[in-house]
Symmetry: C2
Amino acid sequence: MTASVPVVEPDITKLLDHLSRQPALADRLGGTRDLWSAREIGDGNVNHVFVVRGPAGAVCVKHAPPYVRAAGPSWFLTPRRILFEHRALVEHRRHAGPHVPEPLHVDPEEHLLTVEYLAGHSVLRGGLAAGASYPHFAEQAAHYLAHTLFFTSDLALPAGRKRELTSLFETNTAMCQIMEDMVFTEIFLPHRRNRWTSPELDEDVRRLQRDTDLKLAVCRLKQRYLTSRDALLHGDLHTGSIMISDHSLSVIDQEFACYGPMGFDVGTLLAHLLIAYFAAGARGPDQAAQQDWLLSAVEEVWDGFRTRFTELWRDQADGDGYPAALFTGAATAALEAERQRYMGALFTDSLGFCGAEIIRRIVGFARPADFTTITDSAKRAAAERRALTLARALTTTPTDYHSVTDLTAAARDSY
Amino acid sequence: MTASVPVVEPDITKLLDHLSRQPALADRLGGTRDLWSAREIGDGNVNHVFVVRGPAGAVCVKHAPPYVRAAGPSWFLTPRRILFEHRALVEHRRHAGPHVPEPLHVDPEEHLLTVEYLAGHSVLRGGLAAGASYPHFAEQAAHYLAHTLFFTSDLALPAGRKRELTSLFETNTAMCQIMEDMVFTEIFLPHRRNRWTSPELDEDVRRLQRDTDLKLAVCRLKQRYLTSRDALLHGDLHTGSIMISDHSLSVIDQEFACYGPMGFDVGTLLAHLLIAYFAAGARGPDQAAQQDWLLSAVEEVWDGFRTRFTELWRDQADGDGYPAALFTGAATAALEAERQRYMGALFTDSLGFCGAEIIRRIVGFARPADFTTITDSAKRAAAERRALTLARALTTTPTDYHSVTDLTAAARDSY
């Protein structure tokens, strides 16, 4: 591997210079520049992230180097991704304000994005790995999903505005390509980036790569990712993209934002709850309560999302899709039935994407800490195999699951 | 109705000035400017069209006034539509060269587009109304559809290039809105633009506007038009957009071009062949041979399209959709079965759009000459009612038609 660009070392001095040039940011930190301190906190795969503190407050600054941080300079990645993250923050915050951090400033030359610092929050994935559960998580996540997806869809927006937004995000091609390659393609081929628990899962992976029904199902899902422009997606909604406290939930890392199929965001989140569920099982029987909570969270996220989304559709459908004027009087019942049909199709889609996401997180490049922190490889492999089995069923036969309790029952039946 | 912009009278002097400033265009016309003559030939709803002749040759010049030509200045329409037409000509000519006229020049300030003059061609709709049939039409139309749709899809293009193209066309919002309103919405409401054969069809229209199943089916199709980005569509592929001679077929008037569902183009073309079929029936029994030819054209357009499209998919699938590397050895048969499934779903989609297009051409603003030139209103209404009945069935129960011969049999059974 040859480095095409140099490693960009985080430069604290330049960072503080940058903040001091923006009066609003300097005010927020307070005091003078020599009283500010910066510390790198990012553990993501893609960017550097710093918290900068001053006497009056703190901000979070992201820097996008021209490569994938976890891979280094040999894997070029346009730093313009930070602009799409900023745009998505602005758009999603309009609709799901309590669950999207405030974007404060973006510098398109230096590829620096400054956002509100989320005091008292920690990364959901880390909390789950430590055995925690969060009473408000499901309700908040459902609200976030319903509001971001509904209000950027043709159900809420006039077609012209929605086409304009689609156009803005359509050129986030480099980030979409990562998903197109890593979620839907590479794991089914011998590829240098693939990793799995070896040798325990070698045979499982060989079987998976020869599984024609699964590959066809995943290709159909890829086709939906490539061609559907339903709503502005987060695009990478795993538990590492969610910051959580006892009372608040905030979604970060929008650099994969694009218009795509709604089921992609819903399915990704469900996938990572199920990954946490299977990982908890491997950490021992004392995790049974957390496992129960995780499955109830799966149910409540979907039910809460479906309920809130259909409420919004009934009450705030100002878009060009399904004009309410066409369904007055007795026809309102038919429109309501259509809403239920739509949500059923979206559930099926979500299960397919959920399965594909679980699989690529076990066989691909970006394996989640839930699994990789299980040091006993036999236990890890057993958990991963259970997850793979459920995931394959979700992706190849999603219509076998008529409701979310069918899904959680299947997860329970894995043991 | 108040005029928000003045009527733009076609100004021949300005037109010739424009051509004389472009050396390549002046060369093509030949001689000196005083030897050139311009004549308006356009009969479209949207733009002015001129043929300009000189000693050496001729060109065709389109001018987009800032309104819908057929409606006048009270209906504003951005003249920037001419830029999308130019882009679509460039892109489609790359893939279906013999059936797309050569774009020669576009002037984004004056909203003038100069294209190759199609000597010896006439508008297909006019020829059909005069009772003509065209032995090469179906094969050529199928080739045009297969090549323009396949080569602009994710089956042929790398995702990055396809997203870039999608972005370019996504802002053709004003033209898309015309379709969103006129094809899928207005005809189901009391709307000032709606026209139909009255009083003969009054009761049919009342019934149609209360037909909840039909309205739901059309809303689902509208949702596909709003959210699917399958391929770069012509966007208005009726028989008035096709220039034809004994040996050649050329598709014009790409100003509605956008990324959308492939079935929209396929279905629109089938709709207008069926409209011609029902109109021919109203002109009398001596049109039976043309009616037979029109139904064989419906069959051959679909069969030719399906055959050519799947051939291209087998041989030239360089896109990110369904990567061939995933389906080697015994799995190639599964991929071939998936191609057939895909074409089946596309057929169902096409039938739905076909029905919606027929309906809006009988009840809406843009009624085709096929019907409006039938002066006997009772005969016209009878033909339109037959078309409406078939169209409703296509749109509400498209999966009842397993093959294109089911469609043509249903058209025959209308009598």
